[in-house]
């Protein structure tokens, strides 16, 4: 359980953030330069805030007013960096055991073999970091942080330096770490897919301030605008049922009360329930059911709100049955098509915009 309420001025940049949670995964979400990584540095103890407090499980880590500052090596907080930062002069096994050696013997609760098995890094023990691929390095880095038996695990954009294939490989591992080792996590990222998939609570940070806090559905479903550049990050989270598959074409059919969505790639057993993330910029609107278009995923609903911003607009659609979907369009298009609140529309989603990353594997209540 982490409680953060701190302020820090760095040149022209001014950070003022406060948030906390009762366990699970907190995602700090925002553009680069928003202050989310800086917040992480303050939690880890790499930097000192100008004011405020940070507590972990009731223990004060920082209290500027009372002059408390626990140095990083006594915080028992694991940190996974963007570019792994493995020790180049040590073998993989020595890297993995580095933090464990410093953990008090009684508190080495996390099982070594289980971590190695979960991350699939047993075969790498004798190797040195130099020869590892980006994905392997990041697995070892996660293992190293986890094996130090931290009270809190921090991830600083752990997938940002990896290519798509590696991302799809590491993301489920982080999910497994979350589910199997029960260490609270603070996860920093600017990728919607990652934070929606992993987080219990999302803290949206922009220009050094907390703009929104809530569950993925709440945060990305808010009609109230955040900063202008952020609104195109807006996405909808839809719960759908896996209703069929087209093996020949490698597609999965997902049913929703308002229509059908085709997903590129597998999506779990037929009959199962899954959640998908649809970015507002991937949705096109039509007043009639589409003809002669390559689009295969169509949902229908009624416009319930429009926010205008310069030449563009964000449209909120109450889907038939349940759920809400966001779509971006130009104001010009809205006027020409006569789109306004109360109008029934068809929302077209490009299947190629949806892949495994858009899926939340096991919806958590």
């Amino acid at each position: 359980m982490i409680e953060v309420d701190v302020g820090l001025k760095l040149g022209a940049f001014d950070l003022e953030v406060a948030f906390g949670n009762g366990g699970g995964v907190i995602a700090l979400f925002g553009q680069s330069g928003s202050g989310k990584s800086l917040t992480l540095s303050l939690i880890a103890g790499l930097m000192r805030p100008d004011r405020g407090r940070i507590t972990l499980d009731g223990k004060v880590l920082v209290d500027v007013e009372r002059g408390v500052f626990v140095p990083m090596h006594r915080r028992r907080i694991g940190l996974v960096f963007q570019d792994s930062n493995l020790f180049p002069h040590l073998s993989v096994k020595q890297n993995l055991l580095f933090g464990r050696w410093f953990a008090p013997r009684r508190e080495r609760e996390i099982d070594f073999d289980k971590v190695i098995e979960t991350l699939g890094i047993g075969k790498l023990f004798a190797r040195r970091p130099v020869g590892l691929s980006g994905g392997e390095k990041q697995r070892v880095a996660i293992g190293r942080a986890l094996l130090s038996c931290p009270k809190l695990l921090l991830f600083d954009e752990p997938l940002a330096a990896l290519d798509m294939q590696r991302k799809l490989e590491i993301l489920p591992l982080i999910e497994q770490v979350r589910d199997e080792f029960r260490v609270p996590i603070v996860y920093v990222s600017h990728a919607i897919e990652e934070v929606v998939r992993l987080a219990t609570t999302i803290v949206v940070i922009d220009a050094g301030r907390v703009r929104a806090v809530g569950s993925p559905g709440e945060v990305f479903g808010q009609v109230a605008a955040h900063a202008a550049e952020e609104r195109f990050d807006r996405a909808s989270v839809l719960t759908m049922r896996v209703s069929g598959a087209n093996a020949a074409y490698g597609l999965t059919e997902l049913k929703h009360s308002s229509g059908t969505v085709w997903l590129a790639g597998p999506a779990g057993p037929i009959g199962g329930v899954t959640r998908i993330i649809v970015k507002a910029t991937d949705v096109t609107l039509s007043t009639r059911p589409p003809h002669d278009l390559s689009i295969r995923s169509v949902l229908s609903g009624t416009i319930e709100g429009i926010e205008k911003e310069g030449p563009l607009a964000m449209v909120a659609i109450a889907l038939d049955g349940e759920g809400r979907l966001f779509a971006t369009a130009t104001r010009h298009a809205l006027d020409e098509l006569g789109l306004d609140c109360g109008v029934h529309v068809f929302a077209l989603i490009k299947t190629s915009a949806l892949d495994e990353r858009q899926m939340v594997s096991s919806p958590r209540s």
């Binding site: 960096f81 020790f87 180049p88």
Partner: protein, 231 residues
Amino acid sequence: MFDLSPAEWTAIFLSLRIAVVAMIISLPFGIFTAYALARWRFPGKTLINGLVHLPLVLPPVVTGFILLILLGRKGVFGPYLADIGIVLSFRWTGAAVACAVMGFPLMVRAMRLSFESIDRRLELAAGTLGASRIWTFSLVSLPLAIPGIVVGAILAFAKALGEFGATITFVSNIPGETQTISAAIYTYTQAPGGDESAMRLTVVAIVISLVALIASEIIQRQAEKRLASFE
């Protein structure tokens, strides 16, 4: 012509002994100074940096004379050192001190570069994994700086072998006590018929220096290969 006389052998062994001792005594100070200059921020850092580099730019004779003033038998600290049994002037130990001082800037430069090239985040990673500053230094910074430390040590050794001005000013040129290869060559060139001895010692000096430089090159290259992951 390559029959070295006993006097020449004495000069060679004395030189090696002085150089090795000079290198060893300056090693801990060099590592500490290099790390402090590379990683710490403290008031007077520029001044310390200047003092460390002073022997590099001062005429060696001046450095030798300063040592004489400070550490000589009648110098500022000399009598106190003598009280605890350390006499430096006109002894080979004094020659080692002079060589250590002259080689110190070279040693610190190489080591400092090596510490500075270590990715700061590796040290931070060690910190978040529970390593205190001292553990981080011993388990991460120091091993990663080994190439630079070895190079710095060898440079200091080579410098000590060739040192002449500061040594001869501080501890004079006493055969068997403070007469190093350089001092011996100087003596031979001043005496009639000493050219052949001077030539032999010159060849020896070249060989020792070359071996030291090649060794440092090889060690550095191997270490770089081993650590090649800073990209």
